[in-house]
Symmetry: C2
Amino acid sequence: MSIKTILKSSYANRGMTLEEDINITNKYYLDNDIAVIYKKPTPIRITKYNYNKSKIVEAFFETQSTLDYNGIYKGKYLEFDAKQTNNKTSLPLANIHKHQLEHIKRVLRHKGIAFLIVRFTILGKDFILMGNDLLDFIENNNRKSIPLAYFLERGLPLTLNYSPRLDYIKAIDKLMEEL
Amino acid sequence: MSIKTILKSSYANRGMTLEEDINITNKYYLDNDIAVIYKKPTPIRITKYNYNKSKIVEAFFETQSTLDYNGIYKGKYLEFDAKQTNNKTSLPLANIHKHQLEHIKRVLRHKGIAFLIVRFTILGKDFILMGNDLLDFIENNNRKSIPLAYFLERGLPLTLNYSPRLDYIKAIDKLMEEL
């Protein structure tokens, strides 16, 4: 997640990013007791704190070494990240960090559910890509981006609705039934 | 968790608090591929950001509305908080927030595992108290603290070891077998 997105969500609601759609969906899941999923706070390193004024006066953003969202659905551990691209033909792998891939492997090893929610902003298309499909691609390709065709073949399409906004749990449900 | 503890862990390792024992234990679990458990970053509200210097110049701590640690063990969702008291006879309930109790109820409803790790610092005793036992006490008592006797009766004692330092997963394992 970019610093701009972090600050945006800190300051005000100035438009509908993928993150905002997910946050609204998570609130819906919480309010309707469907799932308990939260966005993790962005880690910061505090270098100066003013005790008298009870405030942080110098701090820096740190990189999240895990994925941005986690929680519980039907007793299962679930963790995912949101990736948005303006690219029309593929998702650049540059913004998936190596430690995030390690983390996905770990979650899968411990029988959790890990995935990405990917938005092709210009195309107006959203997909779920499961962790094992992501790892499959990376291990078997030298490409620096995942082509749209791979999402069409292996991903699950998501559609925007009024409420819940982006019903990714429905897709996960389908996958859990298949297991 | 107090601001002091947050800053302490930000600055340097100046002694062994319960939080530090848990962090070391979680690292052991991670390194040995036993469980994947992280401390959630403390949420902050950013009010001023310096783009040129890429740093936060004013921010405030916000209250965590969930518990401090969560993760995955054997496919199960697990969440807990660490509470430390200098009191010799009971754990004051004042530092368990109402929204944290609501959150524990929610996690249990969704079949996750929720608990507290409680340290009686002066007595040198650590306990796990499961979420349902905590809720049981609160719903059936008007007391403002949970007496030590309740921990002895309903909690599970934990012992400090060299490595893993505070093997709370062993206790959880025992409980999962009993389910």
